[in-house]
C-alpha cells in the first residue's frame, strides 16, 4: 500500500525525464514500424537470404550464449566468492569488452585468432583450423562481446545471495562442488537466466566484431545485422523489413523466456 502511495506522488522532476527517456527509446522503433513498406513486406520476406540470415543469427547467438554460460558462470563465481590475488584486476579486465568498440574487438580477435595471429597461426599450421570467415568465427566474435553481460549479471546475483547457505551446506558435509551445484546455482538461477537473456540479445544484435573478424558471406557468416547493414547500402526498405523481423523475433523470444523462466514479477 505504501508503495502505491509513493508512486502516486512521484515528483515531476523524475517523471518528466522518465517520460522523455521512454519516448526517446520508443519513438525510433515506432518510426520504423510506420515507415515499413507493408505492401511489399511479404515478397521481401520470401527471399532466401532473409531466412538464411535469420537462421544463422539464431544458431550463432544461441551457441555463443551456451559458451558464455559454460565459461562465464564459473568465472563469475570465482570473481564473487574467492579471494585469490589479482581478482580485482581480473574483474576490471572482464569489463573491457563492454567499453571496447566492437570493431576494435574484431581487430583484436583477428590479431590473436587470425591466420597470422598470435594463436591463430598455430591453429592453422598444426590443426588446419582458421576461424575468420567461418560460422565458428561468428560464434567467437559474439561470445567475446556478449560474455561480460552474463558475467556481470551472475556476479551481481552471487554477491546478493547470502553465502551463509553455502557455509551451512559445508558444515553439513557437502563438498564445495556439491554446495555450488545444489545450493548456489538454484539461489542465483534467476540472475543466471537474466544474464543469459541479456547475453543472447547482445549476441543476436552483434555487428562490428562479427563483420571485422568473421567477414560477411551469405549462409556462412552473414547474420541479420550484417544483412541489414548491406541492405541499407542499396535498398533502405529491405533494411527496414529485415530490422522488423529481427525486432519481432527477439521480442517474441524475450517475452516467452521472461514468462517461463524469470517469472512475471521480475
Amino acid at each position: 500500500m505504501r508503495v502505491a502511495r509513493r508512486t502516486r506522488t512521484a515528483p515531476g522532476v523524475l517523471v518528466v525525464p522518465a517520460v522523455v527517456g521512454l519516448l526517446f527509446l520508443v519513438l525510433p522503433l515506432t518510426g520504423m514500424v510506420i515507415r515499413a513498406p507493408w505492401s511489399t513486406l511479404v515478397s521481401r520476406l520470401a527471399s532466401a537470404e532473409v531466412g538464411e540470415a535469420l537462421r544463422l543469427s539464431l544458431i550463432c547467438a544461441t551457441t555463443a550464449t551456451a559458451i558464455c554460460l559454460v565459461l562465464g558462470v564459473p568465472l563469475a563465481w570465482v570473481l564473487a566468492r574467492t579471494t585469490i590475488p589479482g581478482r580485482r584486476f581480473a574483474r576490471a579486465l572482464v569489463t573491457v569488452p563492454l567499453v571496447l568498440p566492437p570493431v576494435v574487438g574484431g581487430v583484436a580477435l583477428l590479431l590473436v585468432f587470425g591466420r597470422r595471429g598470435v594463436i591463430g597461426q598455430y591453429l592453422d599450421s598444426w590443426f588446419g583450423i582458421t576461424l575468420p570467415f567461418t560460422t565458428a568465427g561468428v560464434v567467437v566474435a559474439e561470445a567475446f562481446v556478449a560474455m561480460p553481460f552474463l558475467i556481470i549479471a551472475v556476479e551481481g546475483a552471487l554477491r546478493g545471495a547470502d553465502p551463509r547457505f553455502e557455509e551451512a551446506a559445508a558444515t553439513l558435509g557437502a563438498s564445495r562442488w556439491t554446495a555450488f551445484r545444489r545450493v548456489t546455482l538454484p539461489t542465483v538461477a534467476p540472475g543466471i537466466a537474466a544474464g543469459a537473456v541479456l547475453c543472447w540479445a547482445r549476441a543476436l544484435g552483434e555487428f562490428g566484431a562479427t563483420i571485422t573478424f568473421a567477414g560477411n558471406f551469405p549462409g556462412t557468416t552473414q547474420t541479420m545485422p550484417l544483412a541489414v547493414y548491406l541492405a541499407l547500402e542499396q535498398d533502405p526498405d529491405s533494411a527496414t523489413v529485415l530490422s522488423l523481423v529481427l525486432l519481432a523475433v527477439s521480442v517474441a523470444i524475450l517475452v516467452s523466456l521472461r514468462e517461463k523462466w524469470i517469472g512475471p514479477s521480475a
Binding site: V19, L111, R116, F133, F217, L230, P236
Partner: protein, 259 residues
C-alpha cells in the same frame, strides 16, 4: 504538464542557440576573408567518398591556402551512405561520389566526372601465391575477399568477373573497399579486388596486380556543387579547384586516372 512544457521550451531555446551559433562562428572569419579581396568563400562542407580520403584532405588544405579565410569541412563515408545523408537534409555544399548511381540519387544533372578509378588485385607483399590474372583468383587454394555487390567496388568487381567469364568463390564480401584491403594487409586472405588508388595508398604494404578485364569495370567519380548548398559560391569555388590543374595533380599522384 506545465513542467513538460517548460522542458520543451528549454529544449527549443537550446536548439535555437545551436542555430544562431553557426552564423556567429562564420561571422568570426571575416577578419581572414577581408584580407583576401578576391575570393571570400567562407565555410565549405564537402561530402566525399571514402576512397577520396587522402586526396581530398590534401586538396582541402590546398584550397584553404589558396582562399585565405575559407574553411573546408570534410565528411568521408561510403558514397551510398553520403547520398542518403544528403537526401535526408544533411548540410552539404559539395558531393563527390565514387559511383554515378549514388550521384543520381542526389542530383539528376549538373555533375561532372572528375576522375576514374580502376580495379587492381591486391596481394601480400612479394605475391607469394604468384597471382597474375583474374583467373588465378578463382583457384580453390586462393582465399579471396571481395567488396559486397551493394557498394561501388563490389559492383565493379562483379562486372570484371563477368567480363572474364569467371565465377569467383570469395570467403567474404566486405562492407567497403578499405575493409577489403585490410583483410589482405592482415594476411587473412591471399588476394582481394580493390581500387588501384587503395593499393598505392598502402605505400608498399601490399602489391598490386593489374589485369585486362579492369578496363571493363571502370568507376567514374562525379562531383557536384549541390543546388541546395548554403554556400553556393564556396561550393562552386571548391569544385572548380578540384577540376583545376592543381586539384588534378593531387588526384593523379594518388593513382587516379583522368576522365
Amino acid at each position: 504538464m506545465r513542467k513538460l512544457a517548460i522542458a520543451l521550451a528549454a529544449a527549443l531555446v537550446l536548439t535555437g542557440c545551436g542555430g544562431t551559433d553557426q552564423p556567429a562562428s562564420g561571422g568570426s572569419t571575416p577578419t581572414g576573408t577581408s584580407t583576401s579581396a578576391a575570393t571570400p568563400v567562407g565555410d565549405v562542407t564537402v561530402f566525399a567518398a571514402a576512397s577520396l580520403t587522402e586526396t581530398f584532405t590534401q586538396i582541402g588544405k590546398d584550397f584553404e591556402a589558396a582562399h585565405p579565410g575559407s574553411h573546408v569541412k570534410l565528411n568521408f563515408a561510403g558514397s551510398s551512405a553520403l547520398a542518403r545523408q544528403i537526401n535526408q537534409g544533411a548540410p552539404a555544399d559539395v558531393f563527390a561520389s565514387a559511383a554515378p548511381a549514388n550521384m543520381q540519387q542526389v542530383a539528376q544533372s549538373g555533375s561532372t566526372v572528375f576522375v576514374r578509378n580502376k580495379l587492381q588485385i591486391a596481394v601480400a607483399k612479394g605475391n607469394p601465391k604468384k597471382i597474375t590474372s583474374l583467373a588465378d583468383l578463382a583457384k580453390p587454394d586462393v582465399k579471396l575477399a571481395l567488396c559486397a555487390e551493394q557498394v561501388p567496388c563490389g559492383a565493379a568487381s562483379k562486372k570484371a568477373f563477368q567480363a572474364a567469364n569467371l565465377t569467383p568463390k570469395p570467403v567474404t564480401l566486405e562492407q567497403d573497399v578499405k575493409a577489403t584491403l585490410t583483410k589482405v594487409k592482415l594476411g587473412e586472405v591471399d588476394a582481394a579486388l580493390v581500387y588501384q588508388t587503395d593499393v598505392s595508398s598502402t605505400k608498399g604494404d601490399v602489391d598490386g596486380v593489374t589485369f585486362p578485364e579492369a578496363d571493363k569495370a571502370i568507376n567514374d567519380y562525379p562531383i557536384i556543387a549541390l543546388p541546395k548548398a548554403t554556400n553556393a559560391a564556396g561550393a562552386k569555388a571548391f569544385v572548380d579547384y578540384v577540376l583545376s590543374g592543381k586539384g588534378k595533380a593531387v588526384l593523379s599522384a594518388a593513382g587516379f586516372d583522368s576522365p
